[in-house]
């Protein structure tokens, strides 16, 4: 599955995996995120944190008509203002995708799948 871009020279196909990598990479640089969660494993509030090489698994790319939607499943650090961390992820992902792929994202939806308490 891929996203198509057309210009005067022809067509560019970007695999959704690539997009997920870029979005995931942008997200984990955001302050307050301690991991990405797999979208499939939610049991009793116990969530497995994805290892760095598969954080794209916590990203879902959807394309409706011309619009691009990104869903992200994240785990945040306990004691941060979660609403604000989520907002930062949205803005950073939107900016990064726009800047690197020249695609505008219609929506970035954040699913906070867990908080992790750092051992202070």
């Amino acid at each position: 599955m891929s996203i198509e871009l057309n210009n005067e020279f022809g067509q560019i196909d970007i695999s959704t995996d690539v997009l997920a990598q870029i979005a995931g990479g942008a997200a984990i640089e955001c302050y307050g995120i301690v991991g990405m969660a797999s979208k499939h494993q939610v049991r009793d509030g116990l969530t497995d944190i994805l290892r760095k090489e598969n954080f794209a698994k916590g990203v879902v790319i959807r394309q409706h008509d011309e619009d691009l939607h990104i869903d992200m499943y994240i785990i945040v650090s306990y004691g941060t203002k979660i609403s604000e961390v989520a907002y930062q992820v949205q803005s950073k992902v939107k900016y990064t995708v726009d800047k690197t792929l020249g695609m505008s994202v219609k929506s970035v939806n954040i699913f906070v799948q867990g908080v992790r308490v750092a051992n202070v």
Binding site: I28, E29, C30, Y31, G32, I33, V34, G35, K52, S77, G79, T80, K81, E84, V85, Q88, S91, K92, Y95, D98, K99, A118, V120
Partner: protein, 549 residues
């Protein structure tokens, strides 16, 4: 000062918040990372204000309780990345001393360190060159100094000085900052908080409103303006900067009023001033009006006006035409210098690997001197020269004599030969080896040309009339005809055999893309196994140059 209690700490917090508040706009203007939306100062200020309010409400003599109040206020009011980080720094700080009534210099330094540890735990990939770096390096210094120093003020002084030094280093850690020419905005915001703490401890007034040069602000402003912009979208085309020496006898100056007067003239407006000087930066369509506005208040001591449309198209142009002639002065230690006529051909040769193309041709052949100059211009240490024309081979050979670097000529006589030679180039191999392999490559390509007859004559047994089209296969005239199409097709049929794989048609000024396309069609129909490539070479004299590989 040997010990610090809650009430004193509450005063420090108020002072830090106030200092940040006063400089919030400046912090905004530095903001280029992670997203250049210019809100870092606003966000930090809102976060810190919320923290200061809570501290004021809950302040007690017990420093543990006061620090908890600050931590809670910051958490509730956290806004933006920088605000969240600030809240984490003081959450760790507060947690570390929650059971203390007062703290000494060591405890104070260790509390900052604990805050940094907490802040780093809440991020997977800490980006260095940001507020995190400034906090970390300052805390480390504070702990070091507190080993031997019992005076809290002295510790805070060393701590703040290190924060400042660390902030200055942020561009070395985060490339985007260096690119734009600013320090990190979040780090700058944090430094304002620390400076406020220090001023409060010493009982001194706050440092004067930041007297930063306009340059940082302008850099960040331009960076934001240039992101995602087309030259055509530039509404205000002149980047105008003036410096006014304010004069008593002119109109009394107020920065606020001056800003309001300038505002309608454009955007990206920045005004900073002190008692003597006002500096202005604005993007405007009427630079003259800006100058006149400045003169109302004094004399202009510095003026700079840049046309941004010109600059911008140059910047954007460079992005898209990496091989444009503007890059001629690029350094190529191991270079291929070649000769072409027609900018399309030159473009084509550059695209496949020529370092430098001298624009010459059948009637304006470059001299030996031209070739030597080109080689020197690109600073080549090793060079291969491809003349692409039998009349230039001699000049190229002489150029090699004159050059005191490793140089050799690959005796290419046509553009297609030149292309074949360039494609055979191995940047790892010695000049002599390349000369041999590139010369061998010439055997794999056959050249066809179509050009005009300039007079009636007979060559190679072919009757030629003035203004006829002559078909040349491998330099021999094979047909002379009034019809361009016939000449071109004759070249093809003479050159293409069962070994042919690729035919490249470079069409010139004197024919059209349609003609070239129909010629390509003719080839595809006659020889289904052959691939055809079309290029607009824009060359004169030769409607077609055809290469068969």
């Amino acid at each position: 000062m040997q010990s610090l209690d809650g009430l004193k700490f509450a005063e420090m917090v108020q002072m830090g918040a106030h200092h940040l508040f006063q400089n919030a706009n400046y912090v905004d203007s530095l903001n280029v990372f992670p997203v250049p939306d210019g809100d870092t100062g606003t966000n930090m200020n809102l976060s810190m204000t919320s923290g200061a309010k809570e501290t004021e409400l809950q302040a007690s003599e017990n420093i543990g309780k006061t620090a908890q109040a600050l931590s809670k206020g910051l958490l509730m009011g956290a806004r933006g990345n920088s605000g969240v980080i600030l809240s984490q720094l003081f959450r760790g700080f507060g947690k570390f001393i929650e059971k203390e009534a007062t703290i000494n210099a060591k405890g104070f330094a260790n509390a900052f360190q604990a805050g940094v540890d907490t802040a780093y735990k809440a991020v997977m990939k800490p980006v260095e060159g940001t507020i995190l770096t400034v906090a970390r390096e300052a805390a480390k210094k504070g702990v070091e100094v507190a080993e031997t120093e019992n005076d809290i003020i002295a510790v805070m002084e060393a701590f703040t000085a290190e924060a400042k030094a660390s902030l200055e280093r942020t561009p070395d850690l985060l490339p985007v900052l260096k690119e734009v020419g600013v320090v990190d905005s979040g780090g700058q915001g944090l430094l304002f908080v620390y400076e406020g703490f220090l001023a409060s401890l010493k009982g001194e007034p706050l440092p004067k409103k930041n007297d930063a040069t306009l340059d940082d602000l302008i850099n960040a402003e331009h960076h934001r303006a240039q992101d995602f912009m087309n030259t055509a979208d530039i509404e205000f085309g002149y980047c105008t900067e003036i410096m006014v020496r304010l004069e008593e006898e002119k109109e009394p100056f107020s920065e606020e009023q001056f800003r309001n007067e300038l505002n309608p003239l454009g955007d990206s407006l920045l005004v900073i001033s002190d008692e003597e000087i006002a500096k202005v930066h604005i993007h405007s369509e009427q630079p003259g009006a800006v100058l006149a506005m400045g003169q109302k208040y004094g004399s202009l001591i510095k003026i700079k006006v840049d046309n941004m449309r010109e600059q911008h198209s140059a910047i954007v142009g460079e992005d898209h035409k990496a091989s444009a002639p503007t890059t001629k002065t690029e350094k190529h230690p191991y270079a291929i210098v070649t000769i072409a006529m027609g900018e399309g051909v030159a473009e084509l040769l550059r695209s496949i690997g020529a370092s430098y193309v001298i624009e010459g041709g059948q009637t304006m052949n470059p001299s030996t001197e031209d070739i030597v100059k080109a080689v020197k211009e690109i600073g080549a240490e090793k060079v291969l020269i491809l003349p692409n024309n039998k009349n230039i081979v001699m000049a190229a050979e002489q150029a090699v004599e004159l050059l005191d670097i490793e140089a050799a000529v690959v005796p290419t006589k046509t553009i297609p030969q030149g292309m074949a030679a360039i494609l055979a180039f191995n940047p790892e191999a010695a000049v002599a080896v390349n000369q041999a392999t590139m010369t061998d490559a010439l055997a794999n390509v056959k050249t066809g040309q179509v050009t005009y007859a300039v007079r009636d004559t007979s060559i190679d047994g072919v009757e030629i009339h003035k203004d006829d089209f002559m078909a040349l296969a491998e330099g021999k005239i094979v047909l002379s005809t009034p019809a361009l199409k016939d000449a071109a097709e004759k070249v093809i049929t003479d050159l293409v055999d069962e070994d042919a794989e690729i035919v490249t048609i470079i069409y010139g000024e004197d024919t059209t893309e349609e003609n070239a396309a129909s010629l390509a069609k003719f080839i595809e129909e006659s020889y289904p196994d052959v691939e055809v490539e079309l290029f607009n070479g824009k060359q004169g004299l030769y409607p077609y140059i055809i290469s068969v590989e």
